[in-house]
């Protein structure tokens, strides 16, 4: 735009170009965070306002993606997420439940299950819905790592937690997601149940898990 006037305006132009390049990704992450289109739009708008206000803190040539996703995540965590209790109800699962479900025994069986290409056959909307059903602390790190491709260190800054926390949340988030997606594949007949003992056991486990939270 009108960069003739001043270096300040040029800096605004540069920021707009960068934001423009990342807007789809920012909105995508905001949609996963808020799980609501209009709240996602508001979150991105607030993020851009903050980026404009703090634009002098961004050093050109450094990792813009890490910078802008940190602002997005801070803005979400400090202003957009729902109250804790409300979140738990919405998400239908509490951390204790997750911890129980993720006993090392369950993981071990998961690890030894034969690899099946069911993930490729799921609809994108179903995959995203499964991601959206993750409790917030797992959802944010999975979005930042698996979708946006940020490093552990950058994620640690974005969620203001140590790298160890990032790694354990990622691990647990991915395991819950795997479990949910496998259940979905079974429901849709993509994975046949009863094909072998291990699969059947796992489906029983999952159903028990789901009953516990719907009741």
């Amino acid at each position: 735009m009108s960069s003739l006037f001043s270096p300040r305006v040029k800096k605004i132009d540069d920021l707009e170009r960068l934001i423009d390049e990342h807007l789809d990704d920012l909105y995508g992450a905001a949609l996963r965070y808020t799980r609501d289109q209009s709240r996602a739009e508001d979150l991105v708008q607030d993020t851009v306002m903050r980026a404009l206000r703090f634009r002098d803190q961004f050093e050109p040539g450094t990792n813009f993606r890490a910078w802008i996703f940190t602002i997005l995540t801070h803005t979400f965590i400090h202003g957009y997420r729902r109250q804790k209790r409300e979140r738990e109800i919405l998400e239908g699962v509490t951390r204790d439940d997750v911890a129980k479900e993720l006993s090392s025994e369950t993981n071990q069986r998961h690890a030894e299950a034969p690899e099946q290409a069911y993930l490729e056959q799921l609809f994108s909307d179903d995959v995203l819905a499964a991601l959206d059903s993750l409790p917030e602390e797992f959802r944010t790190v999975v979005v930042l790592c698996d979708i946006e491709g940020l490093s552990y260190k950058d994620i640690s800054e974005a969620i203001s937690s140590p790298v160890g926390t990032v790694m354990s949340r990622l691990y647990r988030g991915r395991r819950i997601l795997e479990t949910k997606l496998l259940a979905l594949a079974v429901e849709q007949g993509i994975v046949r149940t009863g094909a072998n003992g291990q699969e059947s056991d796992r489906v029983v486990d999952l159903n028990r898990f789901r009953r516990r939270h719907s009741g």
Partner: protein
């Protein structure tokens, strides 16, 4: 530690780090070597990879709605407007004040009339931060914003249509800008701390209403200056001289 990733348990715990690109080159090569030889670990790595692929694939078609693009673009437009305006005003205001000082020193010959007039025009038309009902209100507006007192004259017998002001800068100095708008002209004040009053005390000296005032006429405008308690008052006006002195120094 070399070779520890050859162990299945260690290898499995590192698969996620490999896929997340968090291993250094040496570790990555070592783990890849293990995966090449161990079908069980390889299958696990592939499944881990598939989960990430599924998430990326599912997200890649999400597009920001055009309403959001418009909102974001508007934010940048607004920000640019603020800075463009700011950028335009600062030099012209500084130019106005510097020109006034410069002309005051008596070297009018070097400044082109058009530039001078543009500067004076700007000085006479700066936007207000505050519009005040009376002089007292305006003085208290400046009180907590400036480190020096701003004492504004009450105009005698002439109705003021509009009175307002703003704090602005001249170089690093804070300056009070005040404008009285009368039915037939304007009086624009620049008020600031003046550590060297003798420099600006040149020109034609008058004693008006008990005040020592220096006056100068340039290109149809009158510039007046005086000091009060170490503060310089510099006024530019398009009012005729007799009216100017009667309203200001009654």
């Amino acid at each position: 530690m070399a070779g520890y990733l050859q162990d299945c348990e260690a290898a499995r715990s590192a698969i996620a780090f490999l896929l997340d690109d968090e291993l250094d080159a040496e570790q990555a090569i070592e783990l890849e070597a293990h995966l090449d030889q161990c079908p069980a670990c390889r299958a696990l790595a592939e499944r881990e990879g598939q989960l990430r692929l599924a998430l990326r694939r599912a997200s890649k078609d999400v597009r920001a709605p055009s309403s959001l693009r418009r909102r974001v673009h508007q934010l940048f437009e607004d920000e640019r407007r603020v800075h463009t305006r700011w950028h335009r005003w600062v030099p012209s205001l500084a130019a106005a004040a510097i020109l006034l000082t410069f002309l005051w020193a008596g070297s009018h010959s070097t400044s082109p009339q058009a530039v001078y007039e543009a500067a004076v025009h700007r000085a006479n038309n700066l936007p207000f931060d505050v519009v005040a009902a009376n002089v007292g209100e305006l003085q208290s507006f400046f009180r907590d914003k400036l480190p020096f007192p701003v004492r504004l004259p009450q105009l005698g017998s002439v109705p003021v249509m509009r009175l307002g002001g703003r704090v602005t800068n001249l170089g690093s100095r804070d300056v009070a800008y005040v404008r009285y708008e009368l039915s037939d002209g304007r009086l624009s004040f620049f008020v600031y701390d003046d550590p060297n009053p003798e420099i600006s005390e040149s020109g034609a000296f008058y004693r008006l209403g008990g005040q020592h005032v220096y006056l100068q006429h340039v290109h149809g405008y009158t510039i007046a200056r005086w000091h009060n308690s170490g503060v310089l008052y510099s006024v530019v006006t398009d009012l005729p001289d007799d009216e100017f002195s009667s309203v200001l120094f009654h």
